[in-house]
């Protein structure tokens, strides 16, 4: 037996997707604009892409880069962010540096990056890495800053070294915030996975998309957008599961988000 509330909750994502597509369909019909095809046209183009072996290889190649970029970024950013959060000097050291580096559009640095790293996987993975690391670093940073001091004191009194305190106390205590960063990072990973292939393309999902864009094949462009959106939903769903597992202890105790209903 499913209560009607759960039924609605389960159905909501589907309804929302259908709603989005409907809005899109209506908007595109109203605008009558070649570069904005109807939802139906775009959906029709999906089987062509997914049926093509080469396209699938392309998409998988992109996903692989994304996975590597995301993984490395998370592994590097969390410790850095936590260190920055717990040590004023580390924060003072890195903060301005990051703020100088991050706003520079990677696309503009392509020539120099190409010079050292070529045009292959390394460059693109680096771009994904930079995209993901931004939110992860800053959420870890703020999360670590907000850890209740007395918890750390308790740890210190148990004889934990600063390094172990970082791992055994700051990390779990800041985990909800860190995961928020990872969630944003996941979103940015997908975006940068595509955009990293805008200028120099070898094989990848972005390659398909931007080629279609250059050729004015808008139904393919939007079909790719749908595919990326679908990937987003899947990755997000997986992520939410992991999150729910990791931070069950932090969930609000009383049912509704703000007990508002």
């Amino acid at each position: 037996m499913m209560s009607s509330a759960t039924l609605i909750r389960r159905a909501a994502p589907v309804l929302a997707c259908i709603g989005l597509l409907a809005v899109w369909q209506v908007a595109s019909l109203a605008l009558k604009n070649d570069s904005f095809p109807t939802a139906i046209d775009a959906i029709r183009a999906i089987p062509d892409i997914l049926g093509d072996k080469e396209s699938l290889i392309n998409i998988l190649a992109s996903l692989r880069r994304m996975a590597i970029g995301f993984g490395v970024a998370v592994l590097v950013s969390i410790p850095l962010g936590l260190l920055m959060g717990r040590s004023r000097s580390v924060a003072a050291f890195f903060n301005p540096l990051l703020m100088v580096i991050y706003p520079v559009p990677k696309a503009a640095l392509m020539p120099i990056i190409m010079l050292w790293l070529g045009v292959g996987d390394v460059t693109k993975t680096l771009v994904i890495f930079l995209g993901v690391s931004l939110p992860v670093i800053y959420h870890s940073f703020e999360g670590a800053k907000a850890v209740e001091e007395k918890m750390l004191w308790s740890g210190a009194a148990m004889g934990l070294s600063p390094a172990r305190r970082l791992v055994r106390i700051v990390l779990p205590a800041a985990l909800p915030e860190i995961l928020t960063g990872c969630r944003t990072g996941l979103v940015l990973a997908l975006i940068t996975m595509i955009t990293s292939e805008m200028i120099a393309r070898q094989s990848g999902a972005g390659n398909i998309l931007f080629n279609a864009l250059d050729m004015g094949q808008y139904d393919t462009v939007f079909a790719m957008i749908i595919i990326v959106g679908a990937m987003g939903i899947c990755l997000d769903a997986i992520f939410e599961r992991v999150r729910a597992r990791l931070v069950r202890w932090s969930e609000p105790q009383f049912d509704m988000p703000l007990s508002f209903s």
Binding site: I8, P13, L15, A16, C17, L20, N33, S35, F36, S89, A92, F94, N95, P96, L97, M99, V100, I101, Y102, P103, V104, P105, A108, L109, I112, L115, W116, P135, Y138, H139, E142, E148, E149, P176, E177, T180, R183, T184, V187, L188, L190, I191, I194, T195, M198, L213, I225, V228, G229, G232, I233, A237, S250, P252, M256, P257, L258, S259, F260, S261
Partner: protein, 254 residues
């Protein structure tokens, strides 16, 4: 206190100086040809020259307008949607899946469509900036707002605060640390995207200056906008940091 402050400033400048030194090193020891990577000295002196020229100031102004407008829209939308989604289960049920679908879309791919809808002026670029900066802010706000200590809300309700006002009086300030983190990320993304938009359809702005210089291989002129956006990022973040320590002065972590 002031000693501590200046020590921190020194710590902050040190790595930037190091980066510039590394840059100089790369040029001097021939790891990169000067046509791709001009020596920093040239770039900075050109920057100073440019900064006083009217045309360059106009480019900066164009970029800044787009940056601020886009970022401001993203903040307003992101914070309000995020809080609404955390507060109301009905809105939550609608917003969550939509965010899941829309957030990871590469917005650049929509740029051509935006151009046709909104033209080549500010409109399309501001929209692109807002669209890209929106989701980090929205997600942070949502998570921040949905983990607000329940008893704070209870206290306010018991004091007779109407429901919708609780959003402004309790949820918003209590989620402020998280919101500001989202804003910081959104701001950086805004910087990147405004540039990207100006590079793709280059009419004016710093991105345009960069692209024209890049096409004609004027490396020094190409780096001037890059350094400018870097400095802008640094300055804007400094301002955001100051705002943050003001807004969060009551919070333990501030």
């Amino acid at each position: 206190m002031t000693r501590l402050l200046s020590a921190n400033v020194f710590l902050g400048i040190a790595p930037i100086v190091l980066v510039i030194a590394l840059w100089q090193g790369l040029v001097s020891f021939g790891f990169a040809p000067a046509v791709l990577l001009p020596p920093p000295g040239f770039v900075f002196s050109r920057l100073l020259q440019q900064l006083v020229t009217w045309t360059f100031q106009q480019e900066i102004a164009a970029t800044l307008i787009r940056l601020f407008a886009g970022f401001a829209i993203a903040v307003v939308l992101g914070v309000s949607i995020g809080i609404a989604a955390a507060a109301n289960p009905a809105i939550n049920a609608v917003v969550r899946p939509i965010v899941r679908v829309l957030a990871p879309l590469p917005k650049v791919a929509l740029y051509p469509a935006l151009l046709l809808l909104l033209g080549f002026g500010h409109g399309s670029k501001i929209t692109l900036v807002a669209a890209d900066a929106l989701f980090p802010i929205l997600l942070s706000t949502y998570y921040g707002a949905s983990t607000v200590e329940q008893k704070l809300i209870w206290s306010a309700m018991a004091a007779g605060t109407p429901r919708y006002e609780i959003l402004f009086k309790v949820v918003l300030p209590a989620a402020m640390p998280s919101i500001l983190t989202g804003c910081r990320i959104g701001l950086v993304i805004s910087c990147i995207v405004v540039f990207l938009a100006e590079m793709i359809t280059s009419t004016d702005g710093l991105g345009h200056a960069l692209v024209t210089a890049a096409r004609t291989f004027q490396a020094v002129d190409m780096f001037v906008p890059l350094i400018t956006i870097s400095l802008l990022g640094l300055i804007l973040n400094g301002l955001l940091g100051a705002l943050r320590s003001y807004l969060l002065r009551g919070f333990p972590e501030a």
